[in-house]
Structure formats: C-alpha cells, structure tokens
C-alpha cells in the first residue's frame, strides 16, 4: 500500500515537473508580460463539482466566483484582475492531488478548496512542495493545518472555518446546557475523518460536563439502512443523539429514527447543511434537530445581508455556509495580497499567517499560530422545514 502511494506520488511529482516546464513556455493562464509581470492573478479553485459531496463544492465555487467578480468590478487587487481557474476534484482525494498538480503548472498564486478534510489532505503535499498557499473553505479536521505526528503547523495550509474540536465541543455544550441532556448516544460516520473528529470531541466535552455516553455506534458512507442500530439505540433511551456525518446518510438516518418512534433531539455538524436534508427527511422528522454551523443566511448582520442579496441576484438561490466560506476564502486572500503588496506566493503566505480581525461574511476572524481562524459559531435548528438560528457561541 505504502509503496504504491509513493509510486503515485513520484509519478505526480514527475508530471508536475513536466507541467512546470511547459508552463514556462507561456500560453497558460497568468501569461508573462514584457516586464516579467503577469496580467492577471490566477487563483486555483480546486473543489468537488461531482461525486458524493458535489453540493458543497459547487456552492463554495459559486461563492468564490461571486467574490472574484465583485473584486474585479471594484478594480481588482494591486491594479490586476483576479482569474479563477475552476477544476473538479470529483470528491476523491487522489483526484484533488492531481488537480492541484495541474493548477500549480498554471502558475496559481494560491488555491481555494477542496471542501472536505480528506480531499484537502490529498492536495496538501503538492501545495507544501511548491510553497503555494492553500485556503480551505470548510475542512474542519484538526490535522488539516497541523501535522499530528510532529505537532508542527503546515506552513502553506490555511482555513476560514473553525475546526472539529470546536464543533463537537459546541454541540456537547449545547446539549448539556441548553437541552439539559444527561445521557447521549453517538452514531456517526466512521468512514470519514471529519465525523470521527466531531464524535471524539463531543464525547470528551460531554463527559467532562457530567454527562454519560450510553451508546457509541457507527455507519459508513453509502449506508442507507440504519433501522437495526437505531432500534438498539432506542433501547438505551438517550436524552440526545449525536450524529456527525454528511447529509446523504444523515437525512435517511433521521427519517428512520423518527419512523421508529425516537423523539429525542438529534444533533450534528455542518455536514448536515444541504437542501436535501429537508426533501429526504421531511420537515416533521427534522423538528427537534440541531447542527453547528459557520454562518446562517438568516443573519441580520449588514455584511451578511449584502452578501445574501448579491448571491441571490447572481444565482437565484439562497447561499449556504459553503458559499459564504468560499466567498470569505477569496476575500481573505485579497486582504493578504493587499497586505503583502505582492503576488508572490511566499509573501502572500506570510501575510495570511498574520491576518488580524478580518471581517468576513462568516464573522470576524484572526488567524492563530496553527493557521486556524478564531471566530464565532452558530447552532442552527430545523423548525418546520426551515433553518433558524437557535443560539450563537463566541469562543
């Protein structure tokens, strides 16, 4: 397995070398002008446009494209126009890696995406190797920006979302304090790093606050039948059920739970945020369910209102948090380019690491030493088929 991976890596690196030679010949995006300066600033958008989490990727792309258009209409950055290079990583980590390799060959100054932690991990080695910053919109696993073995921050990887510990901790606090739950069951996706991270920190915080975990179960990506495990969970009668996972599995899971007569509140993370939740599970089943998120389009903050209006005008749909995070990625990058006063990837990286009080659509953020933003989160509740902000938590 390991040797096969290495071979693949070696092949990709070789391919990159070849690509970079061609890139030098010009004709690619970011064409050289006589002065050695590029006419546009190419920004790679490497997101999931097809596959399991296509809805996350395409929404983030829409947000990023909107931001690029707004900035270009206002005169661009450092007098140059941004150029978004959209690529599909097909929701596959290996594909994210080869897409990044191709984008590096097109002289990008930074890459936005992919969305899931696993796919960002696929893209990471290429970005680190080429010393080009990657800004992840929604990769919430702790190890995305920090190497868990050495504890070192990955120098070129940034994100605009809060991390898993925060989502799990937040929901545990909410369950224990706001919902007054004494016992909880965890039934999460065990085939994703994202959901496992959420589950681990939920468990830690919930037990620290005096609660008991009465059942720990798991499902894997692609599962559609949860009746057996839900029947078992029903038997242990928990006050709260934590279901970290993605909407494709979570929606039928919640529906089946309600059909079996489980009335306990159910909570999860931002992987729940998709219109498919309501069309699959139905408004009634979703009552009394909550999830942690980065943003809500119902927010009355003027910056959010402006963003929602512009997004609706362009795409004729409501922006979800992935769209907002994609938008913030571009805005953050622009701020970094402005502060660095350069399009050199290394200088942009240095500026990104020192961003303070950047006002994004998803809240005010400061990038910490581990390249994570310190920012607020919201608890969103499904009420009769629509998302409402239940409460807001400031770190």
């Amino acid at each position: 397995m390991i040797s096969r991976r290495n071979k693949k890596l070696a092949f990709l690196l070789a391919m990159m070398l070849v690509l970079s030679i061609f890139a030098g010949c010009g004709g690619q995006a970011g064409e050289e002008e006589p002065g050695g300066e590029t006419a546009t600033i190419p920004v790679g958008i490497n997101v999931e446009l097809s596959g399991a989490v296509a809805s996350y990727g395409s929404n983030a792309r829409d947000g990023a494209v909107l931001a690029i258009e707004e900035i270009n209409a206002a005169g661009g950055v450092l007098g140059k126009q941004l150029e978004g290079l959209q690529r599909d990583c097909k929701s596959i980590a290996d594909e994210a890696m080869s897409v990044s390799a191709a984008l590096v060959g097109e002289n990008i100054v930074a890459q936005i995406g992919p969305l899931t932690s696993g796919n960002v991990a696929g893209s990471t080695p290429i970005m680190m190797e080429n010393k080009i910053p990657l800004i992840a919109p929604a990769a919430t696993a702790a190890n995305v920006t920090v190497d868990e073995k050495t504890g070192e921050t990955r120098g070129y990887i940034f994100r605009v979302c809060f991390i898993d510990p925060f989502q799990g901790t937040l929901m545990a606090q909410f369950a224990a304090e706001n919902l007054e739950a004494k016992t909880a069951a965890i039934y999460g996706d065990t085939s994703s790093d994202y959901a496992k991270g959420l589950a681990a920190y939920f468990k830690e915080t919930f037990t620290e606050m005096g609660g008991t975990i009465v059942a720990e179960e798991g499902f894997v990506k692609g599962d559609r039948d949860f009746n057996a495990t839900l029947t078992k969970i029903k038997g242990s009668n928990p006050d709260f059920i934590y279901v970290p996972g993605y909407y494709e599995e979570v929606a039928p899971l919640i529906k089946q739970a309600r059909e079996l007569g489980i009335t306990a509140p159910i909570g999860g993370g931002d992987g729940w945020d998709s219109p498919d939740m309501i069309s699959v599970a139905g408004a009634e089943a979703l009552n009394n369910t909550f999830f942690t998120n980065h943003y809500s389009s119902q927010d009355t903050d003027p910056k959010v209102v402006d963003f929602v209006e512009a997004f609706k005008a362009k795409y004729n749909k409501e922006p979800d948090s992935f769209a907002a995070l994609g938008y913030d990625c571009v805005q953050l990058l622009v701020q970094a380019i402005t502060e660095a006063n350069s399009t050199d990837p290394q200088k942009i990286t240095d500026a990104l690491a020192n961003i303070k009080d950047f006002q994004g659509v998803t809240g005010k953020m400061t990038i910490d030493e581990q390249h994570n933003p310190v920012k607020a989160g919201v608890i969103i509740e499904f009420k009769d088929g629509s998302q409402t902000v239940n409460t807001r938590i400031q770190p």
């Binding site: 179960e217 894997v220 559609r224 039948d225 009746n227 057996a228 078992k232 529906k255």
Partner: protein, 293 residues
Amino acid sequence: MLEFLQQMINGLSLGAIYALIALGYTMVYGIIKLINFAHGDIMMVGAYVGFFSITLLGTDIVVAMLAAMIFCAILGVIMEKVAYRPLRNSTRIAALITAIGLSLFLEYITVVILGPTQKVFPASAFPVKAYNIAGLSILNKQVFVFVSAVLLMVILQYIIKRTKTGKAMRAVSLDREAAVLMGISVDRTISITFAIGSALAAAAGVMIGVYYQTINPLMGIIPGLKAFVAAVLGGIGLVPGAMVGGFVMGLLETLVMGYGNSLYRDAVAFGVLIIILLIRPTGLFGKNTGEKV
C-alpha cells in the same frame, strides 16, 4: 423481546430487497453460467425509470414499478443480445469481463446523462404511515416492500415450475445441447430469463427508491454485491436458495448491527459466507452433483 421482534421486522424488509436482486443473479447463472455483474446497475436504471415515471408522468407507485419492470426487461434482452450472445461460446472469463464493462457503462452513462448527484424520491409518491402494534413500529412501506417481494417471488416460482417457458428454462439450465435437440429455442429462453431477471431487479430498484428515498447512479454497486453474496450463500443457480440467501443476509446484518457492533456488520456477514462455503461449497441449498460431462 420487543426489541428483538423489531429487529426481525427491520431484517426482513432489508432481506426482501436482497432476495429480489439475488433472484436475477441466480436465474442468469443457472441458465448460462454467467455472473451478470451489471445486474445491480439494471436495478439502478429501474429506480430511475420509476423516479421519472412518478415525477414527470405523475403515475402512482404501482404503475411506476410496472413501467420500470417493462423498461428493464427490454434493456435486459438488448443487453444479452448485444453484449453476451456473441460471447456465448467463448471463455467464461471473457463474458465475465464484458459483464463488468457493461456494469461500468451503465453507471457512468447515467452519470453523464442525469448527473452524479442523488435524486430524491418525492415523499408524496408513497405517504409513509407508521403502525404501532403492541409497541412495535411497523411502517406501511416495510409491508409494501415485503409483500411485493414475496408476491413477485411466488409469481416467479409459478413461471418456473408450472409454465412451458419455465420448463424450457429448466431444460436449458440442465443441459443446453439436449434442450436444443428437444426443439427448445435456447436463444428465446435465454432472452426470457434476462427479461424476467431484469424486471425483478427493476422492481427492487423502485422499492429501494421508495424505502430509502434517494437514488444515485452508483446505488447498484453495494446492494448488487450483497445480493450476489446472498445468491452464492443459498447456492448459486437455485431460485429457492437466492430467496433464503437474501433473507439470511438481511437478518444477519440486522442482528450484527442490533446486538453486536455496527462496525462489524460487513465483516461478520462476509465471514459467515466464507464459513458456509468452506463447509458447503455449493451453498446452503446446493447439491454436490460433480462436473457434468
């Protein structure tokens, strides 16, 4: 006890779906000794036909199911004519590889035409009601899946045992050359087998759509694989074996998830398969007939 009965209900509705898909596998294998790996994907096509029949034409669930069955029966016959018939006398591995190719073809042609994202079966097509009988929760869709699966299996059993077509199918399965000499049209019989098998898969596809509400182009892979295991478990080529194998798989998975650890579901299910095949290589219902000459 109550929880156990609830688990049995969960297991039986899951098993009914596996059994329906397994029947198609086993019928085709019984007659031409081909493992039709595209079978799970026919099920997927059936689910999509049902979906469009409900959303675009506004039909009810029974009509949607019939439409899917007819469409897939025709698709199955065409598939056999185009892809398998020219290879009937070549090696078995060639036919197997064609089947895998066909499976990938069906999956990705659907991705290209209909897009890779999941489609949601409209809830109004089958309003779900829960019946509470002595603390047990039984859903009308579980009853629907179970009853229609059993009904289709009874009809199939009748066709195979009591009709001339069924007799021809059994004859071809037993000895193809002898069947030709007796004046049975082998081509026609094989076409009918594919039509029936594909129709059953289509019915299962629509049921999955109703039961789990979402369908996607790759939905046939895992249920197809598990149904194949169910068919082998019962003794591939044997119709009663496929039915029992399907139910055994469904109940086994449910029991492991309900009483063991949900993560060991597939490991235990496939482990049992290995043990059964070690003890009875021909499956639960298989007879050890030895090689036919």
